[in-house]
């Protein structure tokens, strides 16, 4: 047995040196992993940029941002004007926000100001379930339930229209708006509410005059985030809105959004290197710029204009 003290010290030292080695190497490994996220963003921007540049070597930039016709599949004379896709996207987003803002905020106010703890414990998880339903199931729901339902009121509503997916996109973003707004409302200190109650205010007055002004930045930022999700939503629109680029606000007609155009082309095996293939990157770039701007805006609003208590 070599169990002399000298051996032990030796063993201990070699153990320690391997430990020191780990101390030096692990932070670098973790930094490397953290850098991957930057790499992903760089990758997104690089791929979008590169292929978008290819697109604009074939289609003029002015045509893309001013053109009012989007007919990429017209063999001899395709036209690439982004406006019909933008108007389709914003038609969906507008309908969605019309549904989601009143309902989402009403639910947020109820959960934050009116509901008892027990009620909140039941209601909040149900809303979270609503947030967990996959978008493709929402799409099926829009196509086979909401559209026929709307058709009983509006006889000449076509199967593919903007109204039904718009409403369903709105339903999809309700949980997000509700939970983010409610979080903002919760941050308003109870003491201020109690002050108002002591002066005889009703719950409604407290909600409208104290809680909402106090959490306004958080509410606005939740709405902007919701809008950004509505713009980026893909499957509901691809399933139920059809694929007809349509300029103007036409909720009762088939439309095409930026996202559903990208899906349509990438599914249809567009020849690699064709103008149509590059066009999805130009559209994707536009979509990316829009959603990124909104996310940054939401972040800015919630940080810059926050009431600090």
């Amino acid at each position: 047995m070599k169990n002399t003290i000298r051996d032990r010290i030796k063993a201990n030292k070699s153990k320690q040196s391997s430990q020191n080695y780990m101390e030096i190497i692990m932070p670098k490994v973790f930094l490397l992993m953290a850098s991957i996220s930057i790499l992903v963003t760089a990758g997104i921007i690089y791929t979008l940029m590169r292929e978008t540049v290819m697109f604009f070597s074939e289609v003029s930039f002015t045509e893309f941002i001013t053109g009012t016709e989007w007919y990429p599949f017209f063999g001899n004379d395709p036209s690439y004007g982004i406006w019909p896709l933008l108007s389709g996207t914003f038609t969906i987003a507008l309908i969605a926000m019309l549904v989601a803002i009143p309902i989402g905020l009403a639910a947020a106010i109820y959960l934050s100001e009116y509901a008892s703890d027990e009620k909140r414990k039941v209601l909040k998880p149900v809303l979270e379930v609503l947030a967990g339903v996959p978008t493709v199931v929402y799409g099926l729901f829009a196509l086979t339930f909401v559209t026929p339902l709307l058709q009983t009121f509006m006889n000449d509503l076509p199967i593919f229209n903007a109204l039904s997916p718009g409403i369903v996109v709105g339903i999809m973003i309700i949980p997000q708006i509700t939970s983010l707004s409610q979080e903002a409302m919760n941050a308003v200190p109870q003491s201020i509410r109690d002050g108002a109650y002591a002066l005889g205010a009703t719950r409604l007055e407290v909600a409208l005059k104290i809680v909402i002004p106090g959490s306004f930045s958080g509410i606005v930022s939740s709405l902007v985030l919701g809008l950004s999700r509505a713009i980026g939503e893909t499957m509901i629109v691809s399933t139920a809105a059809g694929s007809t680029p349509n300029l103007g606000f036409t909720p009762t007609e088939s439309i095409q959004t930026m996202t559903s155009y990208i899906v349509q082309v990438s599914m249809g095996d567009a020849t690699f290197g064709s103008t149509i293939y590059y066009s999805i990157y130009a559209v994707g770039m536009t979509l990316f710029v829009f959603t990124l701007t909104m996310n940054i805006l939401a972040n800015h609003v919630s940080r810059r204009y926050r009431e600090v208590y």
């Binding site: 953290a34 997104i44 996202t259 940054i296």
Partner: protein
């Protein structure tokens, strides 16, 4: 000087109280709306799809006849995709959050990484699809394969896993660190023996929740895998694939009502998988969550 006591204006007060009650009703209706829609959705999908849901539905491949159609390829595709996504996204996500919570100095790089992650979480999944299509499918020549799909999915859910893991790590009380430091532990020893064991339930909960988002994710995988007709189970990472949501979408976009019913049957299976995953997450959270 008049010293009149203002008598309470009862009319005004009762009006304010009525208003409050009305508003309460309106807000409650708004809250209920979500539940009603959820119920309608579940009932609708269930009644529509139940007729096609039997054992053969799980063991058959997709078919041109709705009564023979099944989701075997789709289920196997989801399993294969997840077998790449789970390790890649977990290792990268947990590594990133350990760096940000334990090592990162408060400098511009750290702030940039955090801001960048927050923005990545808001990028639409089609844009991740474009990234995957260019980088994995074309540039790295993986083709429309499971590997390309799984890696794209990993990047897609990475921000969500990072947020969840960071929260789990942050909830470990400072005293635990101090106790370990007092025993002479080094930073890496603390991470290995204190941080990771304590944060594992939180990380697992967050990871399962984000993976369940991945299971339902359609747009990006649709762009990678395309809507090809797949009547085989994959045998390797470079095979083509289809996953449950893609299969549902491809049935839903057919004009025949029968196929839409088949899509509903697929949706039932998808919803059941998600419910199981979510319950598992809640179970882990309740069983292992410690209050310090």
């Amino acid at each position: 000087m008049k010293n009149k006591i203002v008598s309470p204006n009862e009319k005004q007060i009762s009006r304010r109280i009525t208003k409050n009650k009305l508003a309460r009703g309106v807000f409650f209706t708004g809250t209920l709306f979500g539940m009603v829609v959820l119920a309608a959705l579940l009932i609708r999908i269930f009644t529509q799809g139940i007729g096609y849901l039997d054992f053969e539905f799980l063991t058959n491949f997709a078919s041109r006849r709705p009564e023979d159609a099944g989701i075997k390829a789709a289920i196997m595709g989801t399993v294969w995709i997840m077998s790449i996504t789970i390790p890649v996204s977990l290792i990268l996500g947990v590594g990133t959050s350990i760096y940000l919570e334990e090592y990162a100095p408060k400098n511009k790089l750290t702030r940039f990484i955090e801001l960048n992650l927050a923005n990545l979480a808001g990028v639409p999944s089609v844009v991740f699809g474009l990234l995957g299509l260019t980088v994995f499918v074309r540039l790295l020549e993986m083709g429309r394969s499971i590997l390309a799909g799984g890696l794209t999915m990993s990047l897609l859910i990475l921000p969500v896993i990072v947020v969840a893991s960071k929260e789990a790590i942050r909830s470990i009380p400072q005293e635990q660190y101090e106790a370990a430091y007092a025993m002479g532990a080094t930073k890496w020893q603390i991470i290995r023996t204190v941080v990771l064991p304590a944060a594992t339930p939180g990380i697992l909960t967050g990871a399962i929740l984000s993976l369940s988002r991945g299971v339902g994710e359609t747009a990006s995988l649709l762009m990678i895998g395309a809507m090809t007709f797949i009547a085989y189970t994959p045998t390797g990472f470079l095979d083509g694939f289809t996953v449950l949501p893609i299969q549902i979408f491809s049935w839903a976009s057919r004009p025949q009502a029968e196929f839409q019913a088949v899509a509903a049957a697929g949706s039932i299976v998808l919803l059941i998988i998600l419910i199981v995953m979510n319950s598992l997450a809640i179970l882990i959270r309740n069983k292992y969550s410690k209050r310090y």
